[in-house]
Every structure is written in structure tokens, then in C-alpha cells.
């Protein structure tokens, strides 16, 4: 497990490739049907611009297309039966799917618009004919929003505007027809009627409007629509559209749903997660879900949990590793501690240490090499590693039996003979011992009471016992002398009651010390906060003599201080001439 060196070859690394992308926007495909597989990347750029579709042939950039909006997914699929068998690239971005063929823009598909709330539509129609006052329109739209209706972007923008801008806004937009669009959140493919490698595939996509669409690849019509209780974020499909299929979707509400052909009840095989999903993959019948709470779960397709593994750091992304020549199938987990862990079932079989946090991974055929792992990192690096043909992943099973802690002997001291002797004494003289103790206890209680009353009378306490002035005092001295810094901290310990009109003064030997501030005015003390009051003290004696200093908190009109703190002053270091 030391590094990945005996299993992986470093084929290429470019830490400054400035490629900012995620697993969903990385794919490997033979788009020119020449047996040389290309890397297709939808680059998210630096945020709001510079989004590009990049195609790498080996490690050189082959082509580049600008994308208008942020891409959310890239897949390749066969859309026809023509020879040579070149697949098309589909890029999901906003409400559109851009299809590229032979690296040229081919088609743009727009998601069907959603139904507009009738009231809203009616209002805008009235506005078009100038039949309604813009302000009453705004109020009605506002009430619609408060009822929780889903509104169009245009209406939402109107509700954000200042009142004096509304009229102009309505005039500009009222003549264009009202449309409500959604955004694609995830994208994948599904074979249509044959399971061959190069068979025609449908596109399956999830949207922000909580639904799943299946698109016909030739005519680009919606073949099927399914509704979900929440917004889908990760999607995984197996089966054939014309025969039978299952779509596993993990949603933003922390649930994983399984959709079947023809079934309407999505909540039947629902998996509830403890935390939000950050990745989902499927190997055969098992569903692997990575969650935000640093765990990786495995479920059966029926929704039964098999196991959970806790990760040492937060999970960034997941990817399936399916290496056919050695029939090895595992899961790659990228972690925020710059490592990539490889799990076979629930056993960790390898760890790759990277220079940066990996955000996107794709394992598959790249160039002419079968087992290639392409990774993109948080700082924009691109790394390619090749799995050695001799690599062997051995799973290490945990040994069965009781946990190791069970065999540790606790260090409990033995009871000594002395102890036994003493219990003997206790048994014999129990009554007299009890009597003595009770008498002593009564005396002690009396003594404590006396001392306590004395302390209360003198207010010798750093905590006030007066319910009207609930304050606490602590004082510190800092420094090595001859000048010290004296800090008095006051805290109001009550919940609701403020204290005001207080003074702090000091009691000291004026031959020994000189306080620069002899009286401190205390502002009103708000409950719960600690207030610091500082003053400097000069020690006037260099003979190493010290004395206690008393801090009084006073209230005008009271002869006894409310609280008193006693501070033993440290010995002042004299000025040393060496």
C-alpha cells in the first residue's frame, strides 16, 4: 500500500493545465472511430466565463469549443447506425443539451418549458394589454410567491426590483411571451434496444424541476418523463429502454430513489441517508453512495444497507474502476486529504497519494491503453496514471474474533492487607467511629457557618452573594516588575439584571506600591459579558518585599464593599546590572 508505485505508472502530469472540472464533466471515448480514445472535458473555467469543451488526443489539446453556460455533464453516445461508428458528444448546460458530431456543433435541444401558474400568466397578459396597474400586479405576484407557488424567472426578477424601476421593466418585457425553464442537473445515457457496445443510446437527464427525462437520440423527442420528490443530483442507469431498465437517482434531500420502467411509485425502494450525498456509483447490483459525513455506504438494489466505511477525510468524488483484463471491479474514492483510496467491496486495497485534491476522475481506455485513470485537481492540474498489467489488488480481511481491547488487562490495584485490617477495625468500632464523625461534622458545620458569615460580613468574597448585585471578580498581575500590569475582570453572572454605578478601588501599602489609577469608574455591566479594567502598578521597593493588594468593588452609599479580591503581588525583579 506504499504509494501506488508498484501498481500505477505515472503517464502524464501537468499541475498547471488550468482544467477546472468534476467527474461528471470528464469522459473518455473513441469519437473518431480510429481506435485512439480521446479525453473529452467540459471545463468550468474560472466561474462565470471561459467555459470550454476540450478534447485531448493523448496529452495534446485537439479541439476546443466555447460553451455559453456552466456545463453540468458530458456524455458520448451513438445516435445513428452509420459507418464509421462515430459517437456524438452531448453537453448539458442550463436548460439545453448541445450535441456535437465529428467535433462540430450538430444540434441544440431545449427542455420543454414548464407549466406557468395560470394567475401569473393571466397577470402578464393583462399587463400586455395595459389593463392592470403595475403596482397591484406586483402585490398580487408577491402574494403568489408567499403562497409558495413556483414562478418564472421574470416574475422573480420583478419582485426584486425597486418600485421606481418596475414600470420600465414591465414595458420592456411584457411583449415577449412568458416562458418557464428549468436547469439540467445530471446527465447519463441508456442503450435503447440492443446491449451492444456501439448500440444506439437514449439520453437520461435530471432537472431542477424534480423530474427525469428520457430523450430519443434520433428525433430528440421526450420518450418518458418521471417525477421525483426532490432535485436529482447523481444518476445511474442500467438496462435497455425498450426492454426493462432501472434508474437510480440520489437527490438533494439525502434520499436515493430507484425508478423502474412503468412504475410510478418512486418511494418503494427508497434509501434514506444520514447526510447529503457527494457521489454515487453502481457496480452490478450494489449501489455505492458517498456522503458528506465522511462515510461510504453500500446498498443492494433493493435498498438494504450492506456496510459503511468511515473515511479519514471528506470525500470529493467517486468513480468506478472496472478493469476487465483482470476482472477487477472496485471503487475509487477521492478524499480532501489529497489521497485517492481504492476499495474492493469494503476493503481498502490501494492508496494513491496526490499533490492536490482530486475533484474529477475517470477510469477507462485512453489512447490505446485499457486501464487508464485520468484525474483533474482542485488547482487545475491534469494527471494520467496507467494501471500496470502486473498489478494485483489483494484485499485484507480483518481477522475474526474479539476486538484487541478486550485482551488488555486493566491496571486495578489489589486491595492491600492493610485495607483488610482497617475494615476489621471499622467493623469492630463502627458505632464509636460513627458517633465521633457525626460530632466532628456538627462542629465543622458550625465552624464553616461562622467563617462563612464572617466572609460575608467582610464581603471577603470574589463572588457576590447579594442577589441585587450579581457580579464576580477576578484579578491578575502580569509582568516581572518593577512595573506590573494589574487587570481586574468583572462579570455580571445574572441572566437579566444589569449592574450600574459601581467603582473599583485598591487597598495597598503606599510605601510599597503606587497605583497609577487609584479609582476606576465601572460602566454599566451587561449580563454575561466580562469587562477588563487595567492599571499599572509601580513597586517602590527593591528589597524583594511583597504584600497583598485588595481590590474592592464599591457602591456609593454603602459602607461595605460588594466584593473583594485579594491578590498576592509577585516579587519585583530589581534592575540587574550584569
Amino acid at each position: 500500500m506504499s504509494g501506488g508505485n508498484e501498481k500505477w505508472l505515472d503517464a502524464y502530469h501537468d499541475p498547471v493545465a488550468s482544467l477546472y472540472t468534476f467527474t461528471q464533466c470528464l469522459t473518455l471515448s473513441d469519437i473518431q472511430a480510429d481506435g485512439d480514445w480521446k479525453l473529452i472535458v467540459a471545463d468550468l473555467g474560472t466561474g462565470s466565463y471561459d467555459m470550454k469543451l476540450k478534447v485531448y488526443k493523448n496529452t495534446t489539446l485537439m479541439s476546443e469549443h466555447t460553451i455559453i453556460d456552466l456545463p453540468t455533464g458530458v456524455v458520448t453516445f451513438y445516435m445513428d447506425t452509420l459507418e464509421p461508428r462515430t459517437p456524438a458528444i452531448a453537453v448539458a448546460s442550463g436548460p439545453y443539451i448541445y450535441v456535437y458530431k465529428n467535433l462540430r456543433p450538430y444540434f441544440k435541444f431545449t427542455l420543454p418549458p414548464l407549466d406557468i401558474h395560470p394567475m401569473e400568466e393571466d397577470l402578464w397578459n393583462q399587463a400586455k394589454d395595459d389593463q392592470v396597474n403595475v403596482f397591484s400586479m406586483r402585490d398580487m405576484l408577491e402574494s403568489l410567491r408567499q403562497e409558495g407557488c413556483s414562478l418564472t424567472v421574470r416574475t422573480l426578477r420583478l419582485l426584486q426590483l425597486e418600485p421606481n424601476n418596475i414600470e420600465a421593466f414591465v414595458n420592456v418585457h411584457k411583449n415577449t411571451p412568458l416562458k418557464k425553464q428549468t436547469v439540467i442537473t445530471c446527465l447519463t445515457t441508456m442503450k435503447k434496444s440492443v446491449a451492444d457496445e456501439d448500440a444506439i443510446s437514449c439520453l437520461v437527464l435530471g432537472t431542477e424541476s424534480k423530474s427525469i427525462y428520457i430523450l430519443d437520440p434520433e428525433a430528440f423527442t421526450v420518450l418518458a418523463t418521471m417525477d421525483l420528490p426532490s432535485v436529482p443530483v447523481f444518476i445511474s442507469v442500467n438496462g435497455l429502454f425498450d426492454v426493462d431498465y432501472r434508474i437510480v437517482v440520489s437527490c438533494r434531500n439525502g434520499c436515493v430513489y430507484t425508478l423502474k420502467r412503468g412504475s410510478k411509485d418512486v418511494t418503494k425502494h427508497m434509501i434514506e441517508l444520514n447526510s447529503q450525498p457527494v457521489g454515487m456509483e453502481r457496480i452490478n447490483k450494489n449501489i455505492y453512495v458517498a456522503c458528506m459525513d465522511e462515510t461510504l455506504h453500500c446498498f443492494t438494489s433493493k435498498g438494504k444497507k450492506l456496510w459503511t466505511v468511515r473515511m479519514p477525510a471528506s470525500i470529493m468524488t467517486l468513480e468506478v474502476i472496472d478493469y476487465k483484463p483482470r476482472s477487477f471491479a472496485g471503487i475509487l474514492v477521492s478524499l480532501s486529504n489529497q489521497e485517492v483510496h481504492i476499495y474492493k467491496e469494503k476493503f481498502l486495497v490501494d492508496v494513491l497519494k496526490m499533490d492536490d485534491v482530486v475533484t474529477g476522475m475517470r477510469f477507462g481506455r485512453f489512447g490505446r491503453e485499457d486501464g487508464t485513470l485520468v484525474m483533474s485537481t482542485k488547482r487545475g492540474g491534469l494527471y494520467v496514471k496507467i494501471l500496470k498489467r502486473t498489478a494485483k489488488f489483494e484485499e485484507r480481511d480483518m481477522s475474526a474474533g474479539p476486538p484487541a481491547a478486550q485482551n488488555v488487562k486493566l491496571n486495578v490495584p489489589r486491595k492491600t492487607k492493610l485495607f483488610v485490617d482497617q475494615t476489621q477495625r471499622e467493623r469492630e468500632n463502627g458505632v464509636s467511629m460513627h458517633r465521633t464523625f457525626q460530632r466532628d461534622l456538627a462542629l465543622l458545620r458550625l465552624k464553616v457557618m461562622r467563617e462563612y458569615v464572617k466572609a460575608l460580613d467582610n464581603s471577603m468574597n470574589p463572588i457576590s452573594s447579594d442577589p441585587m448585585e450579581p457580579i464576580k471578580l477576578s484579578a491578575h498581575v502580569q509582568g516581572i516588575g518593577p512595573t506590573f500590569k494589574f487587570t481586574v475582570k468583572l462579570q455580571n453572572t445574572s441572566l437579566t439584571q444589569a449592574c450600574s454605578n459601581l467603582l473599583i478601588t485598591f487597598d495597598y501599602d503606599d510605601k510599597l506600591y503606587d497605583f497609577r489609577k487609584k479609582l476606576v469608574q465601572v460602566p454599566m455591566l451587561v449580563p454575561g459579558l466580562t469587562y477588563d479594567f487595567e492599571t499599572f502598578v509601580d513597586c517602590l521597593n527593591d528589597k524583594g518585599v511583597t504584600e497583598n493588594v485588595k481590590v474592592y468593588v464599591l457602591k456609593p452609599g454603602k459602607s461595605v464593599p460588594i466584593i473583594t479580591g485579594v491578590v498576592s503581588m509577585p516579587v519585583s525583579e530589581s534592575i540587574v546590572v550584569v
Partner: protein, 500 residues
């Protein structure tokens, strides 16, 4: 009677003041009386003499501006600066620690109080009182004070004017030079002149006299030149076997933070001088310093085999037994101390606690009462009241406990443990805000205690203030890495933060 004879008699009986008076008179009559002069120097030295081989307090300057540090991150169990890396014996949960993270010692001596402060702030803050405050440097703290004290006692100027001495002349006369060296070193605290005299005298003795080499080493040590001191002491050990040299060498290694080397030296010395208690105590102290409590106790027990009246050994063993759940054994040891004539508040306080925990209830409160009446200063009184508070908690009298902790605080305003316990009591009475502020006060005063941190974290967690809870639980884990409850709380909070 011959006045010189009387002076010698006084000197032997340790009546140094009378001895000085008589010798001064003799010297007034005959300033060149060498015997009287020598006796006067010796008795003046003896007045302020501190055994140089004993441990001394490291000053702030030595700790923070240490240029002898070799490795910042030392291997576990090889450094006095990072205690707790080689722990054996009871855990921190059972035995409280000092500010430096070291278990409380049974015997207060220089160097046990606090270990190393982590920051300048902690070092400069003089937390409790004059007698626990750290000196700025060990070159100034104790020695300057002693020096000035001797200046005060001779208002008509110093007895010997060092600046006018011809060292070369004295160095050639070994009978006078040794006394003079001790006078300069201990009484005048003038290390540089002492070094000059020692250097000349070593030369005069053809580098054969071990005494002068040890004297040189003492001066180098005082000046912070530890490697030179080591060289001198090694050269002594080549020719002579002297306990003094071994002890000094071990002290040099301790200061260089090489505790294992120091133990090695002690063990080497023990082969020459088997059963020497100072050597055995030295080993035990170092083991205590690096948290190997079991080894320390084994050596202290060894000390008792050779010297059954050794107070430090008895006290340390007793403390060890008390904290490893054998109060009845501890009681036996403390009683031994009492029989030996140690009669103070601390001892009675410990006896009271041991009696209480070993179920000898009839003696408990009497002991505490005596401790209260014997206590001389407020710090001790505060501690005794704190312990009585624990007894009150043990018999479920919360009101009494509350009053005792308040009394502990009124005697010692900085009693962080009492603040913590008061906080718990307030919490039981549902005074949440008061409890919160007490915990806060407690951990601000003594950040090395893990209890207030944990209590505060648990309370904040209940109140829903997860942020404060997290911060405080983290501090608790810093103070006591093995504390299970704090780690559990921390884990729970982490889970909470990542959950839906």
C-alpha cells in the same frame, strides 16, 4: 576563654552571627590574623549557603531564550520539556497535573511547580503568589536576593573588597583560597571574580586538584556555559571519584535537557558509591520529571532502604499510593512523617484526605481542623477548605460543600478547581448562567485543567451553543488527550456539523 576557640565553637554549633561578632573583634585588634579571617569568611558564607547541587528553578529567560535546545520535537520519554510522552502510572484523570502537564509531585521543590510555559504570556503572568512566581533568570532571582541580603547585614561596607584583591597571591595559598572562593561565590555572588580565582588556583595546583575543577564548573554553570562545565567535570572524573562532580554533571545534563544522560551519570556514580541517597533521589526526580512514575517510586523505595528518614521519598511514595487508589498505604507513610516530627498544615490535610478515603471517618475531620489551625497562609487555607468541600461532597451535603468552596475562594481568589466545582454545584441548582461564568473563570485562570473545559463544553452543548462547545472540547482534549468524554463530545459535534 580564648576568643578564637569560642568562635570555633559557635561556628560548629551553627551560631554564625555570634561567630562573626567575635572574629570581627579579633580582626579589629589584629587585621592580619589569618585564622580569624578565614573563620569569618566561612561563617559569613555559611549564613547564606545554599547547596549548589540541589535543583534550582529555571528562570523565564532560560526557558524562553534557550540556545541549548537541540531538537524541538524530541523522541517520547527523552525530554523534560514535553512531559506526558512516556506515561506510566495513574492517568491524568486520577492524578491532577501542574501547569506544565506533569503530575503533581508529593514534595514541593524548585522545578516541580510548573514545567515549561508554552507562551510568553503564560510565562510572564505571575499566576498565584510570590512564592510560586518564576524568577526572570536564575542568575538574578534567588542569588541576587541573597546577595543583597548579605549587603544589608553589613551596613559599614563589605568585609572583603574583592576589587582590590590580588587573586594570584591568594590562588597560591590553597588553605585561604578555598574559603575565599566560597565567600565570593556564595556571599558576594560575584561569579566572574570567583571564576578568575578558580582558574588561577587550578593553574597553581597544576590541574590536579579536583576541588578547583568542580569550582570552575560551578562558575561555568552559573554563567550558562554548560558545555565548559561538562568538560571540567569530565576531567575531574578521569582522575578522582567524587560524588560532588557526579551530581554537578547530572545537573548540567538536566539543564541541557538530556535526562537519560543524567540518569546514566547517576547510575555510573552508584557503581562507585552504592547506596548514596542523593544519587538515588536524583534518579527518582528525573523519572518523576519525565512522567515515569513507577520507576520514580521504585527508586524512592530504594532511597528508603538506605535512609528511612528521607522526607522527600516518603512524601512522594505516599502521594503515588494515594493517587493509585491505595489511600490506606498512603496513610501509613504520612503517619510515618508525623512520627518523624513533620508537623504542618499540608501533612494534616493529606492525613485527613487519606483517612476519609480509607474509611477511617473518626480521624478525618480532626485532621482537617488541625490543618486549618496550623495553616499559615491563605493559599494553604484555600486548599484545605477545598478538600473539606470534597469531604462534604462525599457525604452528600451539597450546601456544606458550596460553603466550603466559597470559603476556599475567599482565601485564595485564584483557586480554579474551586471555581470549577462551584460551577458544577450551581448547575445542579439549575443556575445555568452562574455555572457558565464559573467554568469560564476556572479555565481562564488555569488553562491546564481539563475539567472546566469539558464542563463548559458539555454545558454549551446542552444550551445549543455548539460553536463554544466545540472550541472548549478541543481545549479539553489538548489538556488531556486521553479524556474519553471530551473526545466523544468532539466526535458527536463533528458528526452533528456534517449531518443533514
Amino acid at each position: 576563654m580564648d576568643p578564637l576557640y569560642l568562635a570555633y565553637s559557635y561556628f560548629r554549633r551553627r551560631k554564625y552571627k555570634e561567630c562573626v561578632e567575635i572574629t570581627t573583634k579579633i580582626l579589629e585588634k589584629n587585621p592580619y590574623d589569618q585564622a580569624a579571617w578565614h573563620l569569618k569568611t566561612r561563617s559569613l558564607t555559611a549564613q547564606v549557603y545554599v547547596d549548589e547541587v540541589d535543583v534550582d528553578e529555571e528562570g523565564i529567560a532560560e526557558i524562553l531564550m534557550d540556545d541549548n535546545v537541540i531538537a524541538n520535537v524530541s523522541r517520547p520519554g527523552t525530554s523534560l520539556r514535553k512531559p506526558g510522552t512516556a506515561q506510566s502510572g495513574p492517568s491524568q484523570g486520577m492524578r491532577p497535573t501542574t501547569q506544565g502537564g506533569r503530575p503533581l509531585s508529593g514534595f514541593v521543590r524548585p522545578g516541580t511547580q510548573s514545567g515549561r510555559p508554552g507562551t510568553m504570556e503564560q510565562a510572564i503572568r505571575t499566576p498565584r503568589t510570590a512564592h510560586t512566581a518564576r524568577p526572570v533568570t536564575s542568575a538574578s532571582g534567588r542569588f541576587v536576593r541573597l546577595g543583597t541580603a548579605s549587603m544589608l547585614s553589613t551596613p559599614d561596607g563589605p568585609f572583603i573588597n574583592i576589587a582590590r584583591l590580588n587573586f594570584a597571591k591568594y590562588a597560591a595559598r590553597p588553605n585561604l583560597a578555598k574559603g575565599l572562593f566560597e565567600y565570593i561565590f556564595h556571599h558576594e555572588n560575584d561569579v566572574r571574580n570567583a571564576l578568575e580565582l578558580a582558574a588561577l588556583a587550578t593553574e597553581a595546583s597544576q590541574f590536579n586538584d579536583w576541588w578547583w575543577k568542580v569550582a570552575l564548573a560551578k562558575c561555568y554553570y552559573r554563567l550558562g556555559m554548560y558545555r565548559d562545565a561538562e568538560k571540567q567535570l569530565r576531567s575531574v572524573l578521569k582522575s578522582d571519584e567524587v560524588i560532588d562532580a557526579y551530581l554537578h554533571l547530572a545537573k548540567v545534563y538536566t539543564r541541557l535537557d538530556q535526562p537519560l544522560a543524567a540518569v546514566e551519570i547517576y547510575k555510573q556514580a552508584l557503581t562507585q558509591f552504592p547506596g548514596e541517597t542523593t544519587l538515588l533521589t536524583g534518579i527518582a526526580r528525573i523519572h518523576e520529571g519525565i512522567d515515569k512514575m513507577d520507576d520514580a517510586v521504585a527508586f524512592y523505595k530504594n532511597v528508603l532502604k538506605f535512609d528511612s528518614m528521607h522526607v522527600e521519598a516518603i512524601a512522594c511514595i505516599a502521594t503515588h499510593h494515594f493517587y493509585s487508589d491505595q489511600p490506606e498505604v498512603a496513610l501509613k507513610f504520612y503517619r510515618r512523617l508525623l512520627q518523624m516530627g513533620v508537623y504542618n498544615a499540608e501533612l494534616f490535610n493529606n492525613l485527613g484526605l487519606c483517612c476519609f478515603y480509607s474509611q477511617q471517618y473518626d480521624m478525618t475531620l480532626t485532621c482537617f481542623e488541625r490543618a486549618l489551625s496550623l495553616a499559615e497562609d491563605d493559599i494553604i487555607l484555600g486548599d484545605v477548605w477545598f478538600n473539606i468541600g470534597h469531604v462534604a461532597l462525599g457525604i452528600c451535603d451539597n450546601k456544606l460543600a458550596f460553603q466550603c468552596f466559597r470559603l476556599a475562594l475567599s482565601h485564595n481568589n485564584d483557586h480554579a478547581e474551586a471555581y470549577n466545582n462551584l460551577g458544577v454545584l450551581e448547575l445542579r441548582r439549575n443556575h445555568v448562567e452562574a455555572a457558565r461564568s464559573f467554568f469560564q473563570a476556572s479555565y481562564v485562570m488555569s488553562p491546564h485543567l481539563y475539567e472546566p473545559h469539558y464542563n463548559f463544553a458539555a454545558l454549551a452543548d446542552q444550551l445549543g451553543d455548539l460553536q463554544s462547545s466545540f472550541v472548549s472540547a478541543k481545549r479539553a482534549v489538548d489538556a488531556f488527550p486521553n479524556h474519553v468524554d471530551s473526545s466523544d463530545l468532539l466526535k458527536q459535534l463533528k458528526q452533528h456539523f456534517s449531518l443533514l
